[in-house]
């Protein structure tokens, strides 16, 4: 954890401590990967990385972040250090997603958790989630944190086809599948009137934004 302030005027020897603490390493010859320092806001970090000269792409996951570049290796030292001392960003946009809770795994979840169908729905709709990361497929946003009462390991065997729009849970995360796909998460229902990925605008749910689910009548 970086505990002291870091300024651009510090000599290179001290700034290399950022590299060491963050385990900044090559990810092939066109990318770098590092550990996200604790306390850093993921959205602040993503925006800072994408704005860094030479960066073509940036991805922030919960454990690591990466940047891709072409020729010149971007200088990330000061950028990473600045995000540690950056303030909290404004609250991310809140999306409300209506769900028809009739998924293939709903009854099994209700039984395993002991909550019953109504209880499962009440827990799932009862919190506001934050987009913790995107990955797996375009538009797939990992939402957290799922209340502990609903936390289950992934299915023992994934399904070959989970319908587009499926609302699902696994571990401490919940998500909406943007398109039909194989999937190992427990399917609770179907998102109504929600497009998770659009070919002109990309992913609807972005890092740091918030989501609440609402049961459709």
């Amino acid at each position: 954890m970086i505990t002291r302030r870091h300024s651009r005027s510090e000599p290179a020897g001290r700034s290399s401590e950022v590299s060491w603490r963050c385990e900044l390493r090559p990810l092939g010859d066109g990318a770098l990967r590092f550990s996200v320092p604790s306390g850093v806001d993921a959205r602040v970090l993503l925006d800072a990385l994408r704005a860094t000269p030479g960066v073509l792409d940036a991805v922030v996951t919960e454990r690591h972040a990466s940047v891709c570049f072409d020729e010149a290796v971007p200088d990330l030292e000061a950028v990473i250090a600045a995000t540690v001392s950056a303030g909290r960003p404004p609250e991310g946009r809140l999306h409300t997603i209506r769900v028809r809770y009739d998924g293939l795994d709903l009854d099994a979840i209700a039984e395993v958790t002991g909550l019953g169908r109504a209880g499962v729905i009440a827990v799932h709709t009862g919190v506001v989630y934050t987009v913790r990361s995107l990955g797996f497929m375009p538009g797939f946003a990992y939402l957290g944190d799922l209340p502990t009462a609903l936390r289950l390991p992934r299915r023992a065997s994934p399904r070959a086809r989970v319908p587009a729009g499926s609302v699902a849970i696994a571990g401490s995360r919940t998500a909406v599948y943007p398109a039909e796909s194989p999937g190992g998460w427990h399917v609770m229902g179907l998102a109504l009137d929600f497009v998770a990925f659009d070919s002109t605008r990309g992913a609807t749910l972005q890092l740091g934004e918030r989501v609440r689910f609402e049961a459709a009548p």
């Binding site: 990810l27 010859d29 940036a58 996951t61 990466s66 891709c68 995107l134 797996f136 375009p138 796909s181």
Partner: protein, 301 residues
Amino acid sequence: MNHPTDAGTLVVDSVRGPAFVQDGGRAGFMHHAVPPGGAMIPERLAASNRSIGNAWNAPAIELFGGISLHGTGSSTIVSLDGEPHVLGPGEVFAVLPSHEVSARYLAVAGGFDVPRRLGGYGTLVSVALGGFDGRSLRRGDVLSVSPHGRRAVRVMSASLEPARSIRVLAGPDVARFAPDALDWLTGTTFTVTATTDRIGARLDGPACTRIDADDGASSPMVRGAIEVPAEGHPIVLGPDHPTTGGYPVIAVVVRADHGAFAARRPGASVRFASVRLVEARAAWRELAHRWFQVETVSDGP
């Protein structure tokens, strides 16, 4: 040779196996979980396009099998892997599957006219993004060709050396493996399995012993990353890779060898050689300088 042309279209008479419109890729959207994509064998896409005066990364057809098409214009210039052909009106051009490489590239003068989506023209089938309707080509598909001027054509050739070792850099998770794991990677002759496509390639061979368990946490991924799941057989990520993944990365194929690796067909052998970063960068600079310079269309006299 200079040939006058009008834009016209190319009509698919028959197709066997997957065939997609692909270009040089779309950078800048990995935070939407959209991989950069691009051709499996970028230097062959470049040879095909540049041999008929296109920018190296113009949309072309990436063929995993065979295809027959005919042009509706008075004259259509195409190139197959860098060999130009001039088609008369209605003349059928048939491409047979290759026995040597995994994919062939059919370019058309002007490039295929498909909508630009998220910074690129290529196809990502998982979400039906881009290309021709976001899917593989079918009999009866009519492909528009972008208007273009007169141009010179010439044969261009991108060699792939099917027996050469694929160069890798040690990966960021190498410490999660036993000390001899890199020796396993570079000492084994792997075989490309049939479970191989634009998302990635599974390799067969003796398993690697993992020393830790999969913990389910995901990290960012790139094309060429070699992930090793708990069961010990490597997966090499391809152009349409998921942007995050949960398996440790033991090594990453250098950019200069992405095409050489992707060209290996199911059943082909693969050996890896570990190189240093300075060599990987030099190899990329050389390949990029040779094939991937930004180019404007060259019009002939």
